[in-house]
């Protein structure tokens, strides 16, 4: 399919799902995530044009809702050697409210922080006795989106966990480190030049308010890790390995940098 056909197919699918999604999504939320008065921080949502903001705001138009629907099915599907569904332990997904707003979290058994995606996979391997889902796979994105949706409208609220401190510091240092042939740090673009334009693209402040996001450039749903990898490639740096601790450290730092901002997941971005 070419892009137009894909887009048309996707629109048809979205329309067909509208009714089902409208029933399943019961979380009440403000249609426009508000910025806090006197707070210079700005979600990338506010940098988008009205058409994309409307696409995110309308669950029957937000393509990420296709993944959410899959995530809901997965939540209730018994699988693995334990023949357990997420719902068998957690009950309704509503029990996940607030979880995406506070992750990554420290895992005492592993002795290190884990992202929400990793937590989902730990449940699969430890509780369901099933194989871990591949990073970036449709199933993992679908479950992440479904869980994240339960926190939509809530403020980002990372815990003050002493055990996370060194990882947050590592993430902040990485944010400020120049990388790649173009020799740029995250901070130089997103702290120092957020709101300016790199070519035609507006540089956002890089607050992780809406992950996983449906990104038009991707024609699909993607994680924060995928977005970070894109920036690394953009400055001509070698991306970190998929399981590298740098990603969770950066995410820990970014969530603290965005503390109090409204979670909009699953969002839409250009």
């Amino acid at each position: 399919m070419n892009r137009r056909q894909r887009s048309a197919a996707s629109r048809t699918a979205v329309a067909a799902l509208a009714a089902a999604v409208a029933v399943t999504v019961t979380v009440a939320l403000a249609q426009t995530p508000p910025g806090t008065t006197g707070d210079a921080r700005r979600s990338g949502y506010h940098d988008m044009g009205p058409a994309l903001r409307a696409m995110q705001d309308d669950d029957s138009a937000n393509p990420a809702m296709l993944w959410v629907r899959d995530g809901e099915a997965l939540w209730n599907r018994r699988l693995g050697a334990a023949a357990k569904a997420c719902a068998d332990c957690h009950g309704s997904a509503a029990s996940m409210a607030g979880v995406a707003a506070r992750y990554p979290a420290f895992d005492a058994q592993l002795g290190r922080p884990v992202s929400l995606e990793e937590r989902i996979n730990l449940c699969r391997t430890d509780r369901q006795k099933a194989e871990a889902l591949a990073g970036g796979s449709r199933e993992l994105l679908a479950l992440s989106a479904y869980v994240a949706l339960q926190s939509r409208g809530r403020p980002i609220a990372p815990p003050d966990d002493e055990r996370l401190r060194s990882y947050v510091a590592a993430g902040e240092a990485l944010f400020k480190r120049r990388l790649g042939q173009l020799n740029l740090s995250c901070a130089q673009c997103h702290d120092d030049n957020g709101g300016r334009r790199l070519g035609g693209a507006l540089i956002p402040q890089a607050h992780p308010t809406a992950y996983p996001i449906y990104r038009l450039e991707w024609q699909g749903l993607g994680s924060l890790k995928r977005r970070l990898r894109g920036c690394l490639v953009g400055v001509r740096a070698e991306p970190f390995a998929d399981d590298a601790p740098e990603y969770v450290s950066l995410e820990l730092f970014l969530m603290r940098r965005a503390r109090g901002m409204t979670l909009e997941a699953p969002g839409v971005r250009p």
């Binding site: 173009l182 030049n193 070519g199 035609g200 001509r236």
Partner: protein, 152 residues
């Protein structure tokens, strides 16, 4: 339409990385800094302003328009992270332009201007770019020759 244009613009950073950096294959040659300039040509020869203009305008090779505007009526949506290139040839000598392209961090350690002719002191450079400058010596001379013509 609007979305398509936006997409094309946003996709730019990924495109930068996907396209090999022109002819910048050789390791940098030594050069001499005098004051805030590199007075001598990196190649020993004068560059070609027309080729230089093409390099500056090409967002996969020179990358310049991602940050700088300039006298490029055909260019869509230049960036605004750095001063426009208009008048660069009036503000700076060829030698001053050369150093600012080669390694602007020598003048301002905090600059966001990438070091176009430095391969040391960089971290995690992608293997396909490792050990190579962003532009070759000949390409930089072409760009210097072009920028020197921008008197207004």
């Amino acid at each position: 339409m609007r979305t398509a244009r936006l997409l094309a613009a946003i996709a730019t950073p990924a495109v930068i990385a996907a396209v090999p950096a022109g002819h910048a294959q050789e390791a940098p040659r030594p050069y001499v800094v005098v004051g805030d300039a590199i007075p001598a040509s990196l190649t020993g020869q004068s560059g070609d302003a027309a080729r230089g203009r093409a390099i500056v305008a090409d967002r996969q090779v020179g990358l310049c328009l991602l940050c700088h505007a300039g006298p490029f009526p055909e260019a869509r949506l230049p960036g605004n992270l750095a001063p426009p290139l208009d008048g660069a040839g009036a503000r700076w000598s060829a030698g001053q332009l050369r150093l600012r392209i080669v390694d602007a961090a020598r003048l301002n350690p905090d600059t966001i201007m990438p070091p176009y002719y430095r391969t040391t002191g960089l971290q995690r450079v992608a293997p396909s770019f490792a050990g190579k400058p962003i532009l070759s010596a000949a390409q930089i001379e072409d760009v210097v020759a072009f920028l020197a013509t921008l008197k207004h």
